[in-house]
Symmetry: C3
């Protein structure tokens, strides 16, 4: 089922506009190229609308944000909304500073965000301020596990209804939900938390899959799940290549390589997920 | 013939000032170090003239440009002109937004650019607005091939005359021309379009070769051709190292590695080019 | 002796706030993750104090500085001072432009810097203006060697007294001194000067070690020496992995990998240093 979403990316080669942080921007560009999409980065107010207009989708990532790029995100987001382009928001470090929390909330309030993709601490910080984000990493106390999974299904379903977006929480178990359905995804590897950019890369990958799914009139929720499974499987493949002297730099390369080589069949075979439906269909 | 230009870089170790985008800046720095040059990145108006003054050459790259860096490019460019330093312009995404097209045109108008290095869509967008750039990648309809090669010789010769620069178009076949001569270069590999930064890296490499050639009083046109052959051959070498599980991340590493290990002899042996002369000499 | 400092980083997992250049920022983030610390990058005046407040240590790196980030460095530095967090200053390119030299001097004057980590030309430029920095690389004439080592012990001791900081000069022989003691460290490999970011990465690594040492009430001077030995040994390990076709891109990966895999035992076994004491203890 999910493999077709990767095929959709390969066939439509979506061009994604990314306003993103300067820490992981190179990896974001390369993972978009790895999956068959194309990246363009532009963050000046004088051109973001023009750039969004030639793209198919938009990623807004608030790592290393500043007053100029916040204004650019609003401008690009409004243009994307006019053109009915999907928008993925990555609220990097929401909870770590008032500027980040407020900016993420402002973007959710002002723009028709399609997917909010964050770690559990970031999403909780945005939902009720109850979590103390550990920098840009998730707080251990917030972790999704088999025992609290149903609580997170309920939490993400409510948030999806409140915000009118897909909520996509990444972690050891990923939870992806709209108001009707939720996926729990169990792909991935602990080494993914030992490189910078796992989350940022997942967000742009999600933008590529959702943009392709929109063009091909497929389910956006399943597209997000497909992007998350792609990333998780790539982490597993990367971990399997690790030699004795390899560390996180080699792992990062292997991760991108695995996305580059991912096939629809591999995605269908290795994807590990549960799907919960809240409706009768 | 071209190998001596790489030797020139090794011997003179030129220091290159780069005002460039934050997406591929790390790769640009590393490829300069790989070829035996040294990079320095500085984009604030308060220091660009001082930095240019201690360097031998200047690269201006308009990816992720903004109003501050545009002013810095003009300042640095004017200082470089005073000091008779070569300037390489990379009009990343010209055609993709009015800001980029206008900025590139402004830089060509105000500064004595030595080389304009872009893909065919970017160069066409700057010449007559007839091409619609696909983001930062070339439009397929514009591709240089054996059938339209002479049209591109004619096009680049005229543009070189009009702008007073060397025109260097990269693609499956590269075309490099001044008003008197043109090179068509057939080195390279399709994987080069699957990583971000192939073009940006080629631009800074070109700056290194041209700066060294100026110091050693060699042909600037041949220096550009040597830089393009170096990059193309490095792509071929990198492709030859690709294992079954390797993807674009490994390819990027192999590409830089191949530039690092390139010798004058290898460059002379593997370079594939035609040279056309419009004059009697 | 030094191995315990790496253990301290592993055990305390310090969160380090980095205001740093966009050239090597990704490598800085990944080396912090490699050594067991966590990075956060934030440079906007609206959030740097909040971000510093949730971290344990601060790195200030003046590569690609601009007027906005200079103000942010002062704000973050004053907050770090209030909270008694260690601050590491990397005066990248001091001597290469008045802006860099003046900014580094301003930061040393206004903030209680814990460690100044630079190459010998940068440190000399800050001490007396007698060195002409070759871009961001050290000038050959300034090199520390066995013949002039005692001059550098004397030089760094005086500077440490004058500035009230630890002085940490990296090079073929590293010299690390406070007013009472000095380390000369002979780990490392020439290939480290063929990648961008060796110095920047060493600075954030130093911040991690010093932050952990402060938490565990250990010697800050020894912590700096431990960070330098870690980096130098990692360079040696990386060089030992180099295959025939490998170049500086592979070397960069191997270097990060080696930090990732470094153990306290390895650090103790391979560290090559002399310790000089100017006091009776």
């Amino acid at each position: 089922m999910l493999g077709q979403y990767l095929e959709g990316v390969h066939e439509t080669a979506p061009l994604i506009h990314n306003i993103t942080n300067y820490v992981t921007v190179n990896d974001c560009a390369n993972i978009l190229l790895a999956c068959g999409a194309s990246p363009i980065m532009a963050d000046d107010q004088a051109e973001v609308e023009a750039i969004t207009a030639i793209c198919g989708g938009l990623t807004l990532n608030i790592g290393t944000l500043n007053s100029n790029t916040i204004a650019s995100m609003i401008l690009a987001g409004k243009k994307a909304a006019q053109l009915d382009h999907p928008i993925v928001l990555d609220p990097v470090g929401a909870g770590a500073s008032p500027l980040r929390t407020q900016t993420a909330a402002e973007l959710i309030g002002k723009l028709p965000i399609t997917v909010v993709r964050g770690n559990v601490s970031e999403i909780k910080a945005l939902s009720d301020g109850s979590s103390l984000t550990h920098g840009v990493d998730a707080n251990a106390a917030d972790k999704v596990n088999d025992d609290n999974l149903w609580e997170y299904f309920s939490f993400t379903k409510k948030l999806a209804e409140a915000w009118g977006t897909i909520i996509a929480i990444s972690g050891e178990i990923d939870v992806i939900a709209n108001k009707d359905k939720a996926f729990a995804i169990k792909n991935g590897h602990p080494l993914m938390s030992r490189i910078t950019g796992s989350g940022c890369m997942l967000s742009v990958l999600t933008a590529a899959y959702v943009t392709a799914a929109k063009k091909t009139q497929n389910s956006l929720l399943e597209a997000v799940a497909a992007a998350f499974c792609t990333m998780g499987i790539a982490g597993e493949v990367a971990a399997s290549r690790m030699g004795e002297m390899d560390g996180n730099a080699s792992f990062r390369n292997y991760l991108l390589d695995a996305v580059f080589n991912m096939t629809a069949e591999e995605l269908d075979t290795k994807a590990k997920y549960e799907l919960v439906s809240y409706t009768d269909d």
